[in-house]
C-alpha cells in the first residue's frame, strides 16, 4: 500500500510529537505546521491526503485555515480532522459546516486517532 501524506497543524509541540508517535505504525508520511498560515503554504506546495487541525492557534486559527483551504483549487480533496479541546456544540457545528470530515476532542489516545484515520487509509 502506498503511504498517504498527513499534515499536522498544531501550535503545540507535545501534540505534534504524540501524533507522530501514534502515526508511526500507520502508512502515513507526516508533515508539521505550527499554525494555519504555514499549513496553507504547505498545502499550496503539495496537497496532503489528511490534515489534523487544531482550532486555537496564533497567526491563523483552524477554522480560518479550513475555510481558506476549501475555497482554493484542489482544497476539497484532503480529509480534515479537527483535533481540539473545544467541545461545545457551536464549535462542532461550525467545523462541520466549514467542511471538516471528522472532529476529535482532546485529550485523544492512539486508539481514538487510529479509528478516525483508518477509513482514510483505504481512500
Amino acid at each position: 500500500m502506498s503511504s498517504k501524506r498527513c499534515l499536522i497543524i498544531d501550535d503545540s509541540p507535545t501534540i505534534r510529537k504524540v501524533v507522530r508517535r501514534i502515526l508511526q505504525d500507520l502508512p502515513f508520511e507526516v508533515e508539521e505546521a505550527e499554525n494555519g498560515e504555514i499549513g496553507l503554504a504547505r498545502c499550496d506546495l503539495r496537497m496532503p491526503n489528511v490534515i489534523l487541525l487544531d482550532w486555537n492557534m496564533p497567526v491563523m486559527n483552524g477554522i480560518e485555515f479550513l475555510r481558506s483551504l476549501r475555497s482554493r483549487a484542489g482544497g476539497d480533496s484532503p480529509a480534515v480532522i479537527f483535533c481540539t479541546t473545544e467541545s461545545d456544540v457551536e464549535h462542532i457545528r461550525e467545523a462541520i459546516e466549514g467542511g471538516a470530515n471528522e472532529y476529535i476532542i482532546k485529550p485523544f489516545d492512539a486508539e481514538m486517532l487510529r479509528s478516525k484515520l483508518s477509513p482514510m487509509i483505504t481512500m
Binding site: 504524540v18 508517535r21 461545545d88 456544540v89 457551536e90 462542532i92 457545528r93 476532542i105 482532546k106 485523544f108
Partner: protein, 337 residues
C-alpha cells in the same frame, strides 16, 4: 422528508425513547424533538454534530442539550420542523389510544353477547344454545388475545416511563456535588479529568492524579455504625479540600475513595502532596461525635502522572495500581506508578 405512516412514526418514537434512556436524558419536549430529528435523519448537520459528541465519549449534559436545541431549532424553518415533529408524536399517541379504544369495543361486544344469552329462549333449542356458546368462546378468545397485546404494550410503556422518570430525578439532583461530603462527585470528576488532560496535552505541562482510600473503613462502619462512617467520610473530605490548591480538583470517587487532579504537578511533587495529605489526615482532630475509642483514621494514596496520548482509563488504572501497592505494603502510605 418525514417518514410517513403510523408504524414508522411509532418505531421512530421507540428509537427516541431508547436513546433518552441510554444517555440518561430527561424526557422534556425539547429533548424529545431533538432526538426525533436525529433519528428521522433529515438534518445531516445535527446528526453529524451529535455523532461527534457520541464518538468522543462526551455525554449529553443539560447544557449540551440546550445548546443543540438552540443551535438547530432556532430559525423559522426549524420551528416548522419542530411543529411537524410534534404532529407526528400526536399521531403516535392517537394510534395508541386507538388500540385502547378497540379493546374497549371488544369488551362492549362481549357484554352484548352475554346479554343475548340472558335474553334468549333456549327451550327445546339445543342448536341455538350451541351456536351461542361457540360464538361466546370465539369472542372471549379474540378479546383475550387483544387484551394480552394491549396489556403488553401498556406494561412496556410504563417501564419506559419509569426509566425516564428515574433519569429526570437524577438530572434534578445537584449534578456536580456529592450529597454527603459536598465534594465534587464522580460525574464532575469525569468532566474535570477530560478538561485538564486536554489542556495538559496542549500545553505539555504535567498533570498528576492521586487516588485516596480510607484505611480499614469497612471496620469503622461495622464497629461504630454507618453514622460514624459518614462522619469520617465528611471529615476526610473537608481535610482534603482544605489541603489542596484552588486549581486542583478534589472529588469523592466512590465509597471511601477520593480522587485529586493536580495540574502542573510532576511525579516528585505528586508524591510530596500525597505525603502532605496523609499527614493532614492523621493529624486531624476527631470531631466530638466520633468516639474516642476509635483507632486513628489513616489513608493510602496511589499517584501517577498523565502521559499525553495514553487513554485516560489507563492513567486512572496506574493510580489505582499504585494505591493497591500502598495497601499491600501495609497501608498509611503513598505509592507512585
Amino acid at each position: 422528508m418525514y417518514l410517513e405512516g403510523l408504524t414508522d412514526a411509532r418505531s421512530l418514537a421507540d428509537a427516541v425513547i431508547a436513546t433518552l434512556v441510554q444517555y440518561e436524558i430527561p424526557a422534556t419536549p425539547d429533548n424529545y424533538a431533538l432526538w426525533y430529528e436525529y433519528h428521522a435523519g433529515h438534518n445531516p448537520d445535527l446528526r453529524r454534530t451529535i455523532d461527534v459528541i457520541v464518538s468522543n465519549g462526551g455525554g449529553f449534559s443539560e447544557g449540551t442539550l440546550h445548546d443543540l436545541y438552540i443551535s438547530f431549532f432556532s430559525s423559522v424553518k426549524e420551528e416548522q420542523a419542530v411543529r411537524e415533529t410534534s404532529l407526528r408524536v400526536q399521531e403516535t399517541l392517537r394510534d395508541v389510544i386507538g388500540i385502547a379504544n378497540r379493546a374497549r369495543a371488544d369488551a362492549d361486544q362481549f357484554g352484548a353477547t352475554l346479554g343475548g344469552i340472558a335474553l334468549a329462549d333456549f327451550d327445546n333449542n339445543v342448536n341455538a344454545l350451541r351456536e351461542l356458546t361457540e360464538h361466546l368462546v370465539r369472542e372471549a378468545q379474540a378479546m383475550a388475545g387483544r387484551s394480552r397485546y394491549v396489556g403488553a404494550r401498556i406494561r412496556e410503556s410504563s417501564d419506559k416511563i419509569e426509566a425516564l422518570e428515574r433519569n429526570l430525578a437524577s438530572a434534578l439532583r445537584d449534578a456536580t456535588k456529592d450529597g454527603l461530603t459536598g465534594l465534587s462527585n464522580r460525574k464532575s470528576f469525569d468532566t474535570a479529568i477530560r478538561k485538564l488532560a486536554g489542556e495538559a496535552m496542549n500545553s505539555g505541562e504535567d498533570l498528576a492524579l492521586l487516588i485516596i482510600d480510607i484505611d480499614h473503613f469497612k471496620a469503622v462502619n461495622d464497629t461504630w455504625g454507618h453514622q460514624v462512617g459518614d462522619a469520617v467520610l465528611c471529615q476526610v473530605a473537608t481535610t482534603l479540600e482544605q489541603a489542596v490548591r484552588g486549581e486542583d480538583h478534589a472529588a469523592r470517587y466512590g465509597g471511601e475513595e477520593f480522587a485529586i487532579l493536580l495540574p502542573r504537578t510532576n511525579a516528585t511533587a505528586a508524591l510530596a502532596v500525597g505525603e502532605n495529605l496523609r499527614h493532614a489526615i492523621s493529624r486531624a482532630t476527631p470531631q466530638p461525635n466520633l468516639t474516642p475509642l476509635m483507632n486513628p483514621i489513616t489513608i493510602s494514596v496511589g499517584a501517577s502522572c498523565y502521559e499525553p496520548g495514553d487513554p485516560l482509563t489507563e492513567w486512572v488504572g496506574r493510580s489505582d495500581a499504585a494505591l493497591y501497592r500502598a495497601k499491600r505494603e501495609g497501608r498509611n502510605r503513598v505509592q507512585f506508578a
